[in-house]
């Protein structure tokens, strides 16, 4: 197992619009893919600290977008439909960040990933949280907008664009480490609602919480994530076994209403 346990920074990302199947529901989705071939999983990656990174982004959607990065001072970079844009990810200090699209269409359709910078002395897993209302996605994909005050009824809840039990097959989200070792986990809430994860078997130390800075240093078993928040925690695996980590807003541990599903993954601590 590599120390970072995340994908490498790409030279190029392809923003693509296609159908994703989540928890039995098919829905239109935007994804940042590493290759020109459709991938239903957004590409999250690791970068070295304090080193800028050039990146080419192909906008395969039918409308213009802008590339957003939750870094202070970052100005969204226009991504013209059907063209490639070269941009430079800035030199970033150690921590985790999220990238995505700054439009309602981009956010609703889910084009968003995580950038982990530094924090490479331990295995570093990541959970990109999402919530999805297929009818809303279909409407927005067809050019509609989200009516203000319209009730939101998400039917699917994802970790790295997967619903449980598919989260068990996620090499970057399914935490498998040995007892007595430690790892980092980056959690980014890129959904349309707040979320909260409960860790079975362990407490974690909050190292970064972009919207809860007062919580850095807290030791928690239940960690909330506001919309758009990026959090890094450290897990010290003191006991072996298989332990769920799941949303404790329990409507979110379902797939189209079926339990169990949705926002559940596991800590697999090997003896």
């Amino acid at each position: 197992m590599g120390a970072v346990h995340a994908q490498d920074a790409p030279d190029t990302l392809w923003l693509q619009l296609n159908e994703a199947v989540l928890g039995g529901d098919s829905m239109p989705a935007l994804r940042f893919c590493e290759g020109a071939t459709w991938d239903s999983l957004n590409y999250s990656f690791h970068m070295a600290a304090d080193v800028p990174q050039s990146l080419v982004v192909h906008n395969g959607d039918t409308v213009d977008h802008a590339f957003a990065l939750n870094v202070e001072g970052w100005e969204p970079v226009a991504l013209v439909a059907g063209t490639a844009t070269e941009l430079t990810l800035p030199s970033l200090s150690a921590g985790s960040y999220c990238y995505g699209l700054d439009s309602e269409r981009g956010k609703v359709l889910g084009g968003a990933g995580i950038i982990m910078v530094g924090n490479d002395d331990l295995p570093h897993f990541h959970w990109n949280l999402g919530d999805w209302e297929p009818a809303r996605l279909a409407s927005v994909a067809e050019g509609g907008t989200v009516e203000e005050g319209a009730p939101y009824v998400p039917r699917q809840f994802t970790v790295n664009d997967r619903t449980f039990p598919n989260t068990m097959n996620d090499p970057y989200g399914y935490v498998q480490i040995g007892v007595g070792t430690s790892c980092y986990i980056t959690i980014a809430n890129q959904g349309s609602m707040d979320h909260v994860l409960h860790f079975h078997g362990f407490h974690v130390e909050v190292l970064q919480a972009s919207k809860h800075p007062e919580r850095v240093g807290w030791i928690k078993d239940t960690v909330p994530f506001l919309q758009g928040e990026v959090t890094v925690v450290r897990l010290d695996a003191f006991q072996p076994g298989m332990y769920p980590v799941h949303n404790h807003n329990l409507i979110a541990v379902t797939n189209a209403g079926f339990y169990p599903g949705g926002m559940i993954t596991h800590l697999d601590i090997q003896p």
Binding site: P151, Y152, V153, P154, R155, M193, D194, V196, H198, H200, G201, F202, H203, E214, G217, W218, I219, K220, D221, T222, P224, Q239, P240, G241, M242, Y243, P244, H248, N249, L250, I251, A252, V253, T254, A256, G257, F258, Y259, P260, G262
Partner: protein
Amino acid sequence: MKTMLHSPVRMSRLRKGWSSLCLLTLSVLAACLPSGLRGQALPPQLFSEMDGIHFLDDGSSVPIWGYGWVTDGYITLPGPLLTYNEGQSVDLYFTNPSPESHTIHLHGLDVDQANDGVPATSFLVPLNGEAVYSFVADQAGTFLYHCHVTTTLHLTMGMYGMILVKRPDQTLFEGGPSYTDDVPLLFSDLEVATNLDPVGSFPFHDIRPDVFMINGKQGSQLEAEDQRVWAAPGDTLALRLGSMAYSRVRCHFPPELHAVCHMSDGRALPEPFAVDSLDIFPGERFTVLVAPEEGFEGSVSCDYWNMIDPGIEDTQEIHFGALPSSLDDLGDFDTMLGVGYPNPANSWYAPAVGAAGPDSGFQGEVVVTDLQGRECFRGRLEQGRLDVSDWPEGTYVARCGNRAPTRFMVFH
């Protein structure tokens, strides 16, 4: 107790004040204590049921599922408060006579996989099954427990409760601040339609709570004297805030409480901080020390925010009452010992105030058993009180005539 009359400070004041008045009664009661009371050889046992009834503030009732003590024979919402001492090795006995399988997940206690209460990785307790959950309560703090079978449904139906792990020196944690008494406050909610028709509530992703509770109470129920938090001058109360809600709860602390947050999720914070409002997400816990100003009569407002479409769904209040510092000023409070949740006592137990008001202390025969069903006391309480000052710590069940049995716990 709530907090009030059961604090060591409060009880010592009471005992002094009542010492001459109750001398005869105490002597009689002491003579009545059976030798079997000296130890509870058999462990208390939780059970689960799916046929409970919970009364709402408007007088209506909803079906609930939940936990109760076997010796009580009934379930409550929330389930019984489980209290352990820091460092205690615990065997939690559980039996399930209900028609569906259940478990107990010990939320936040970091137990091992075998005792984690998750069906897929631990075990189910089927109909008529029994189980023992074993763990060491190695961290003082506030924790929760709940069923982890079809959790989305079983939780909203009421299968949850709070766990306190306490230190004998009445400090929050090693090297932490001391306090007068604990005030367990468990936030939760439910959707009436789901409780009325759990099978028909599928799909579960659109459960939207419409009843919002603190310790299972709401609205005017929380104004009742036995639900208020009572503080005497100089008291420092540990508010044990936990959430089993599907909502985010935002508590607003009046400045007169001088609230300081010291712990979350059973761990000391790196730095305590003064708090005027505090968000509690589902599954989180916080310990907030409050030192109410003398005479403070107010409330902590608790907003229940919709987690999906942000907006306040409801507001409930934690009402505070001021106790006088002088026993002479206690007035009718002296009949209110032993009520509320979790109903602990360290010196005295008295049945709850009757419907006729605070002067209607129970006058009939009282039977008290321990959790193994062994009778510990039978008789009349001439002063409306039972001296439990030298009883073993534990949970007991009091039956007062035709009233529903009530639990109380003895701590020293």
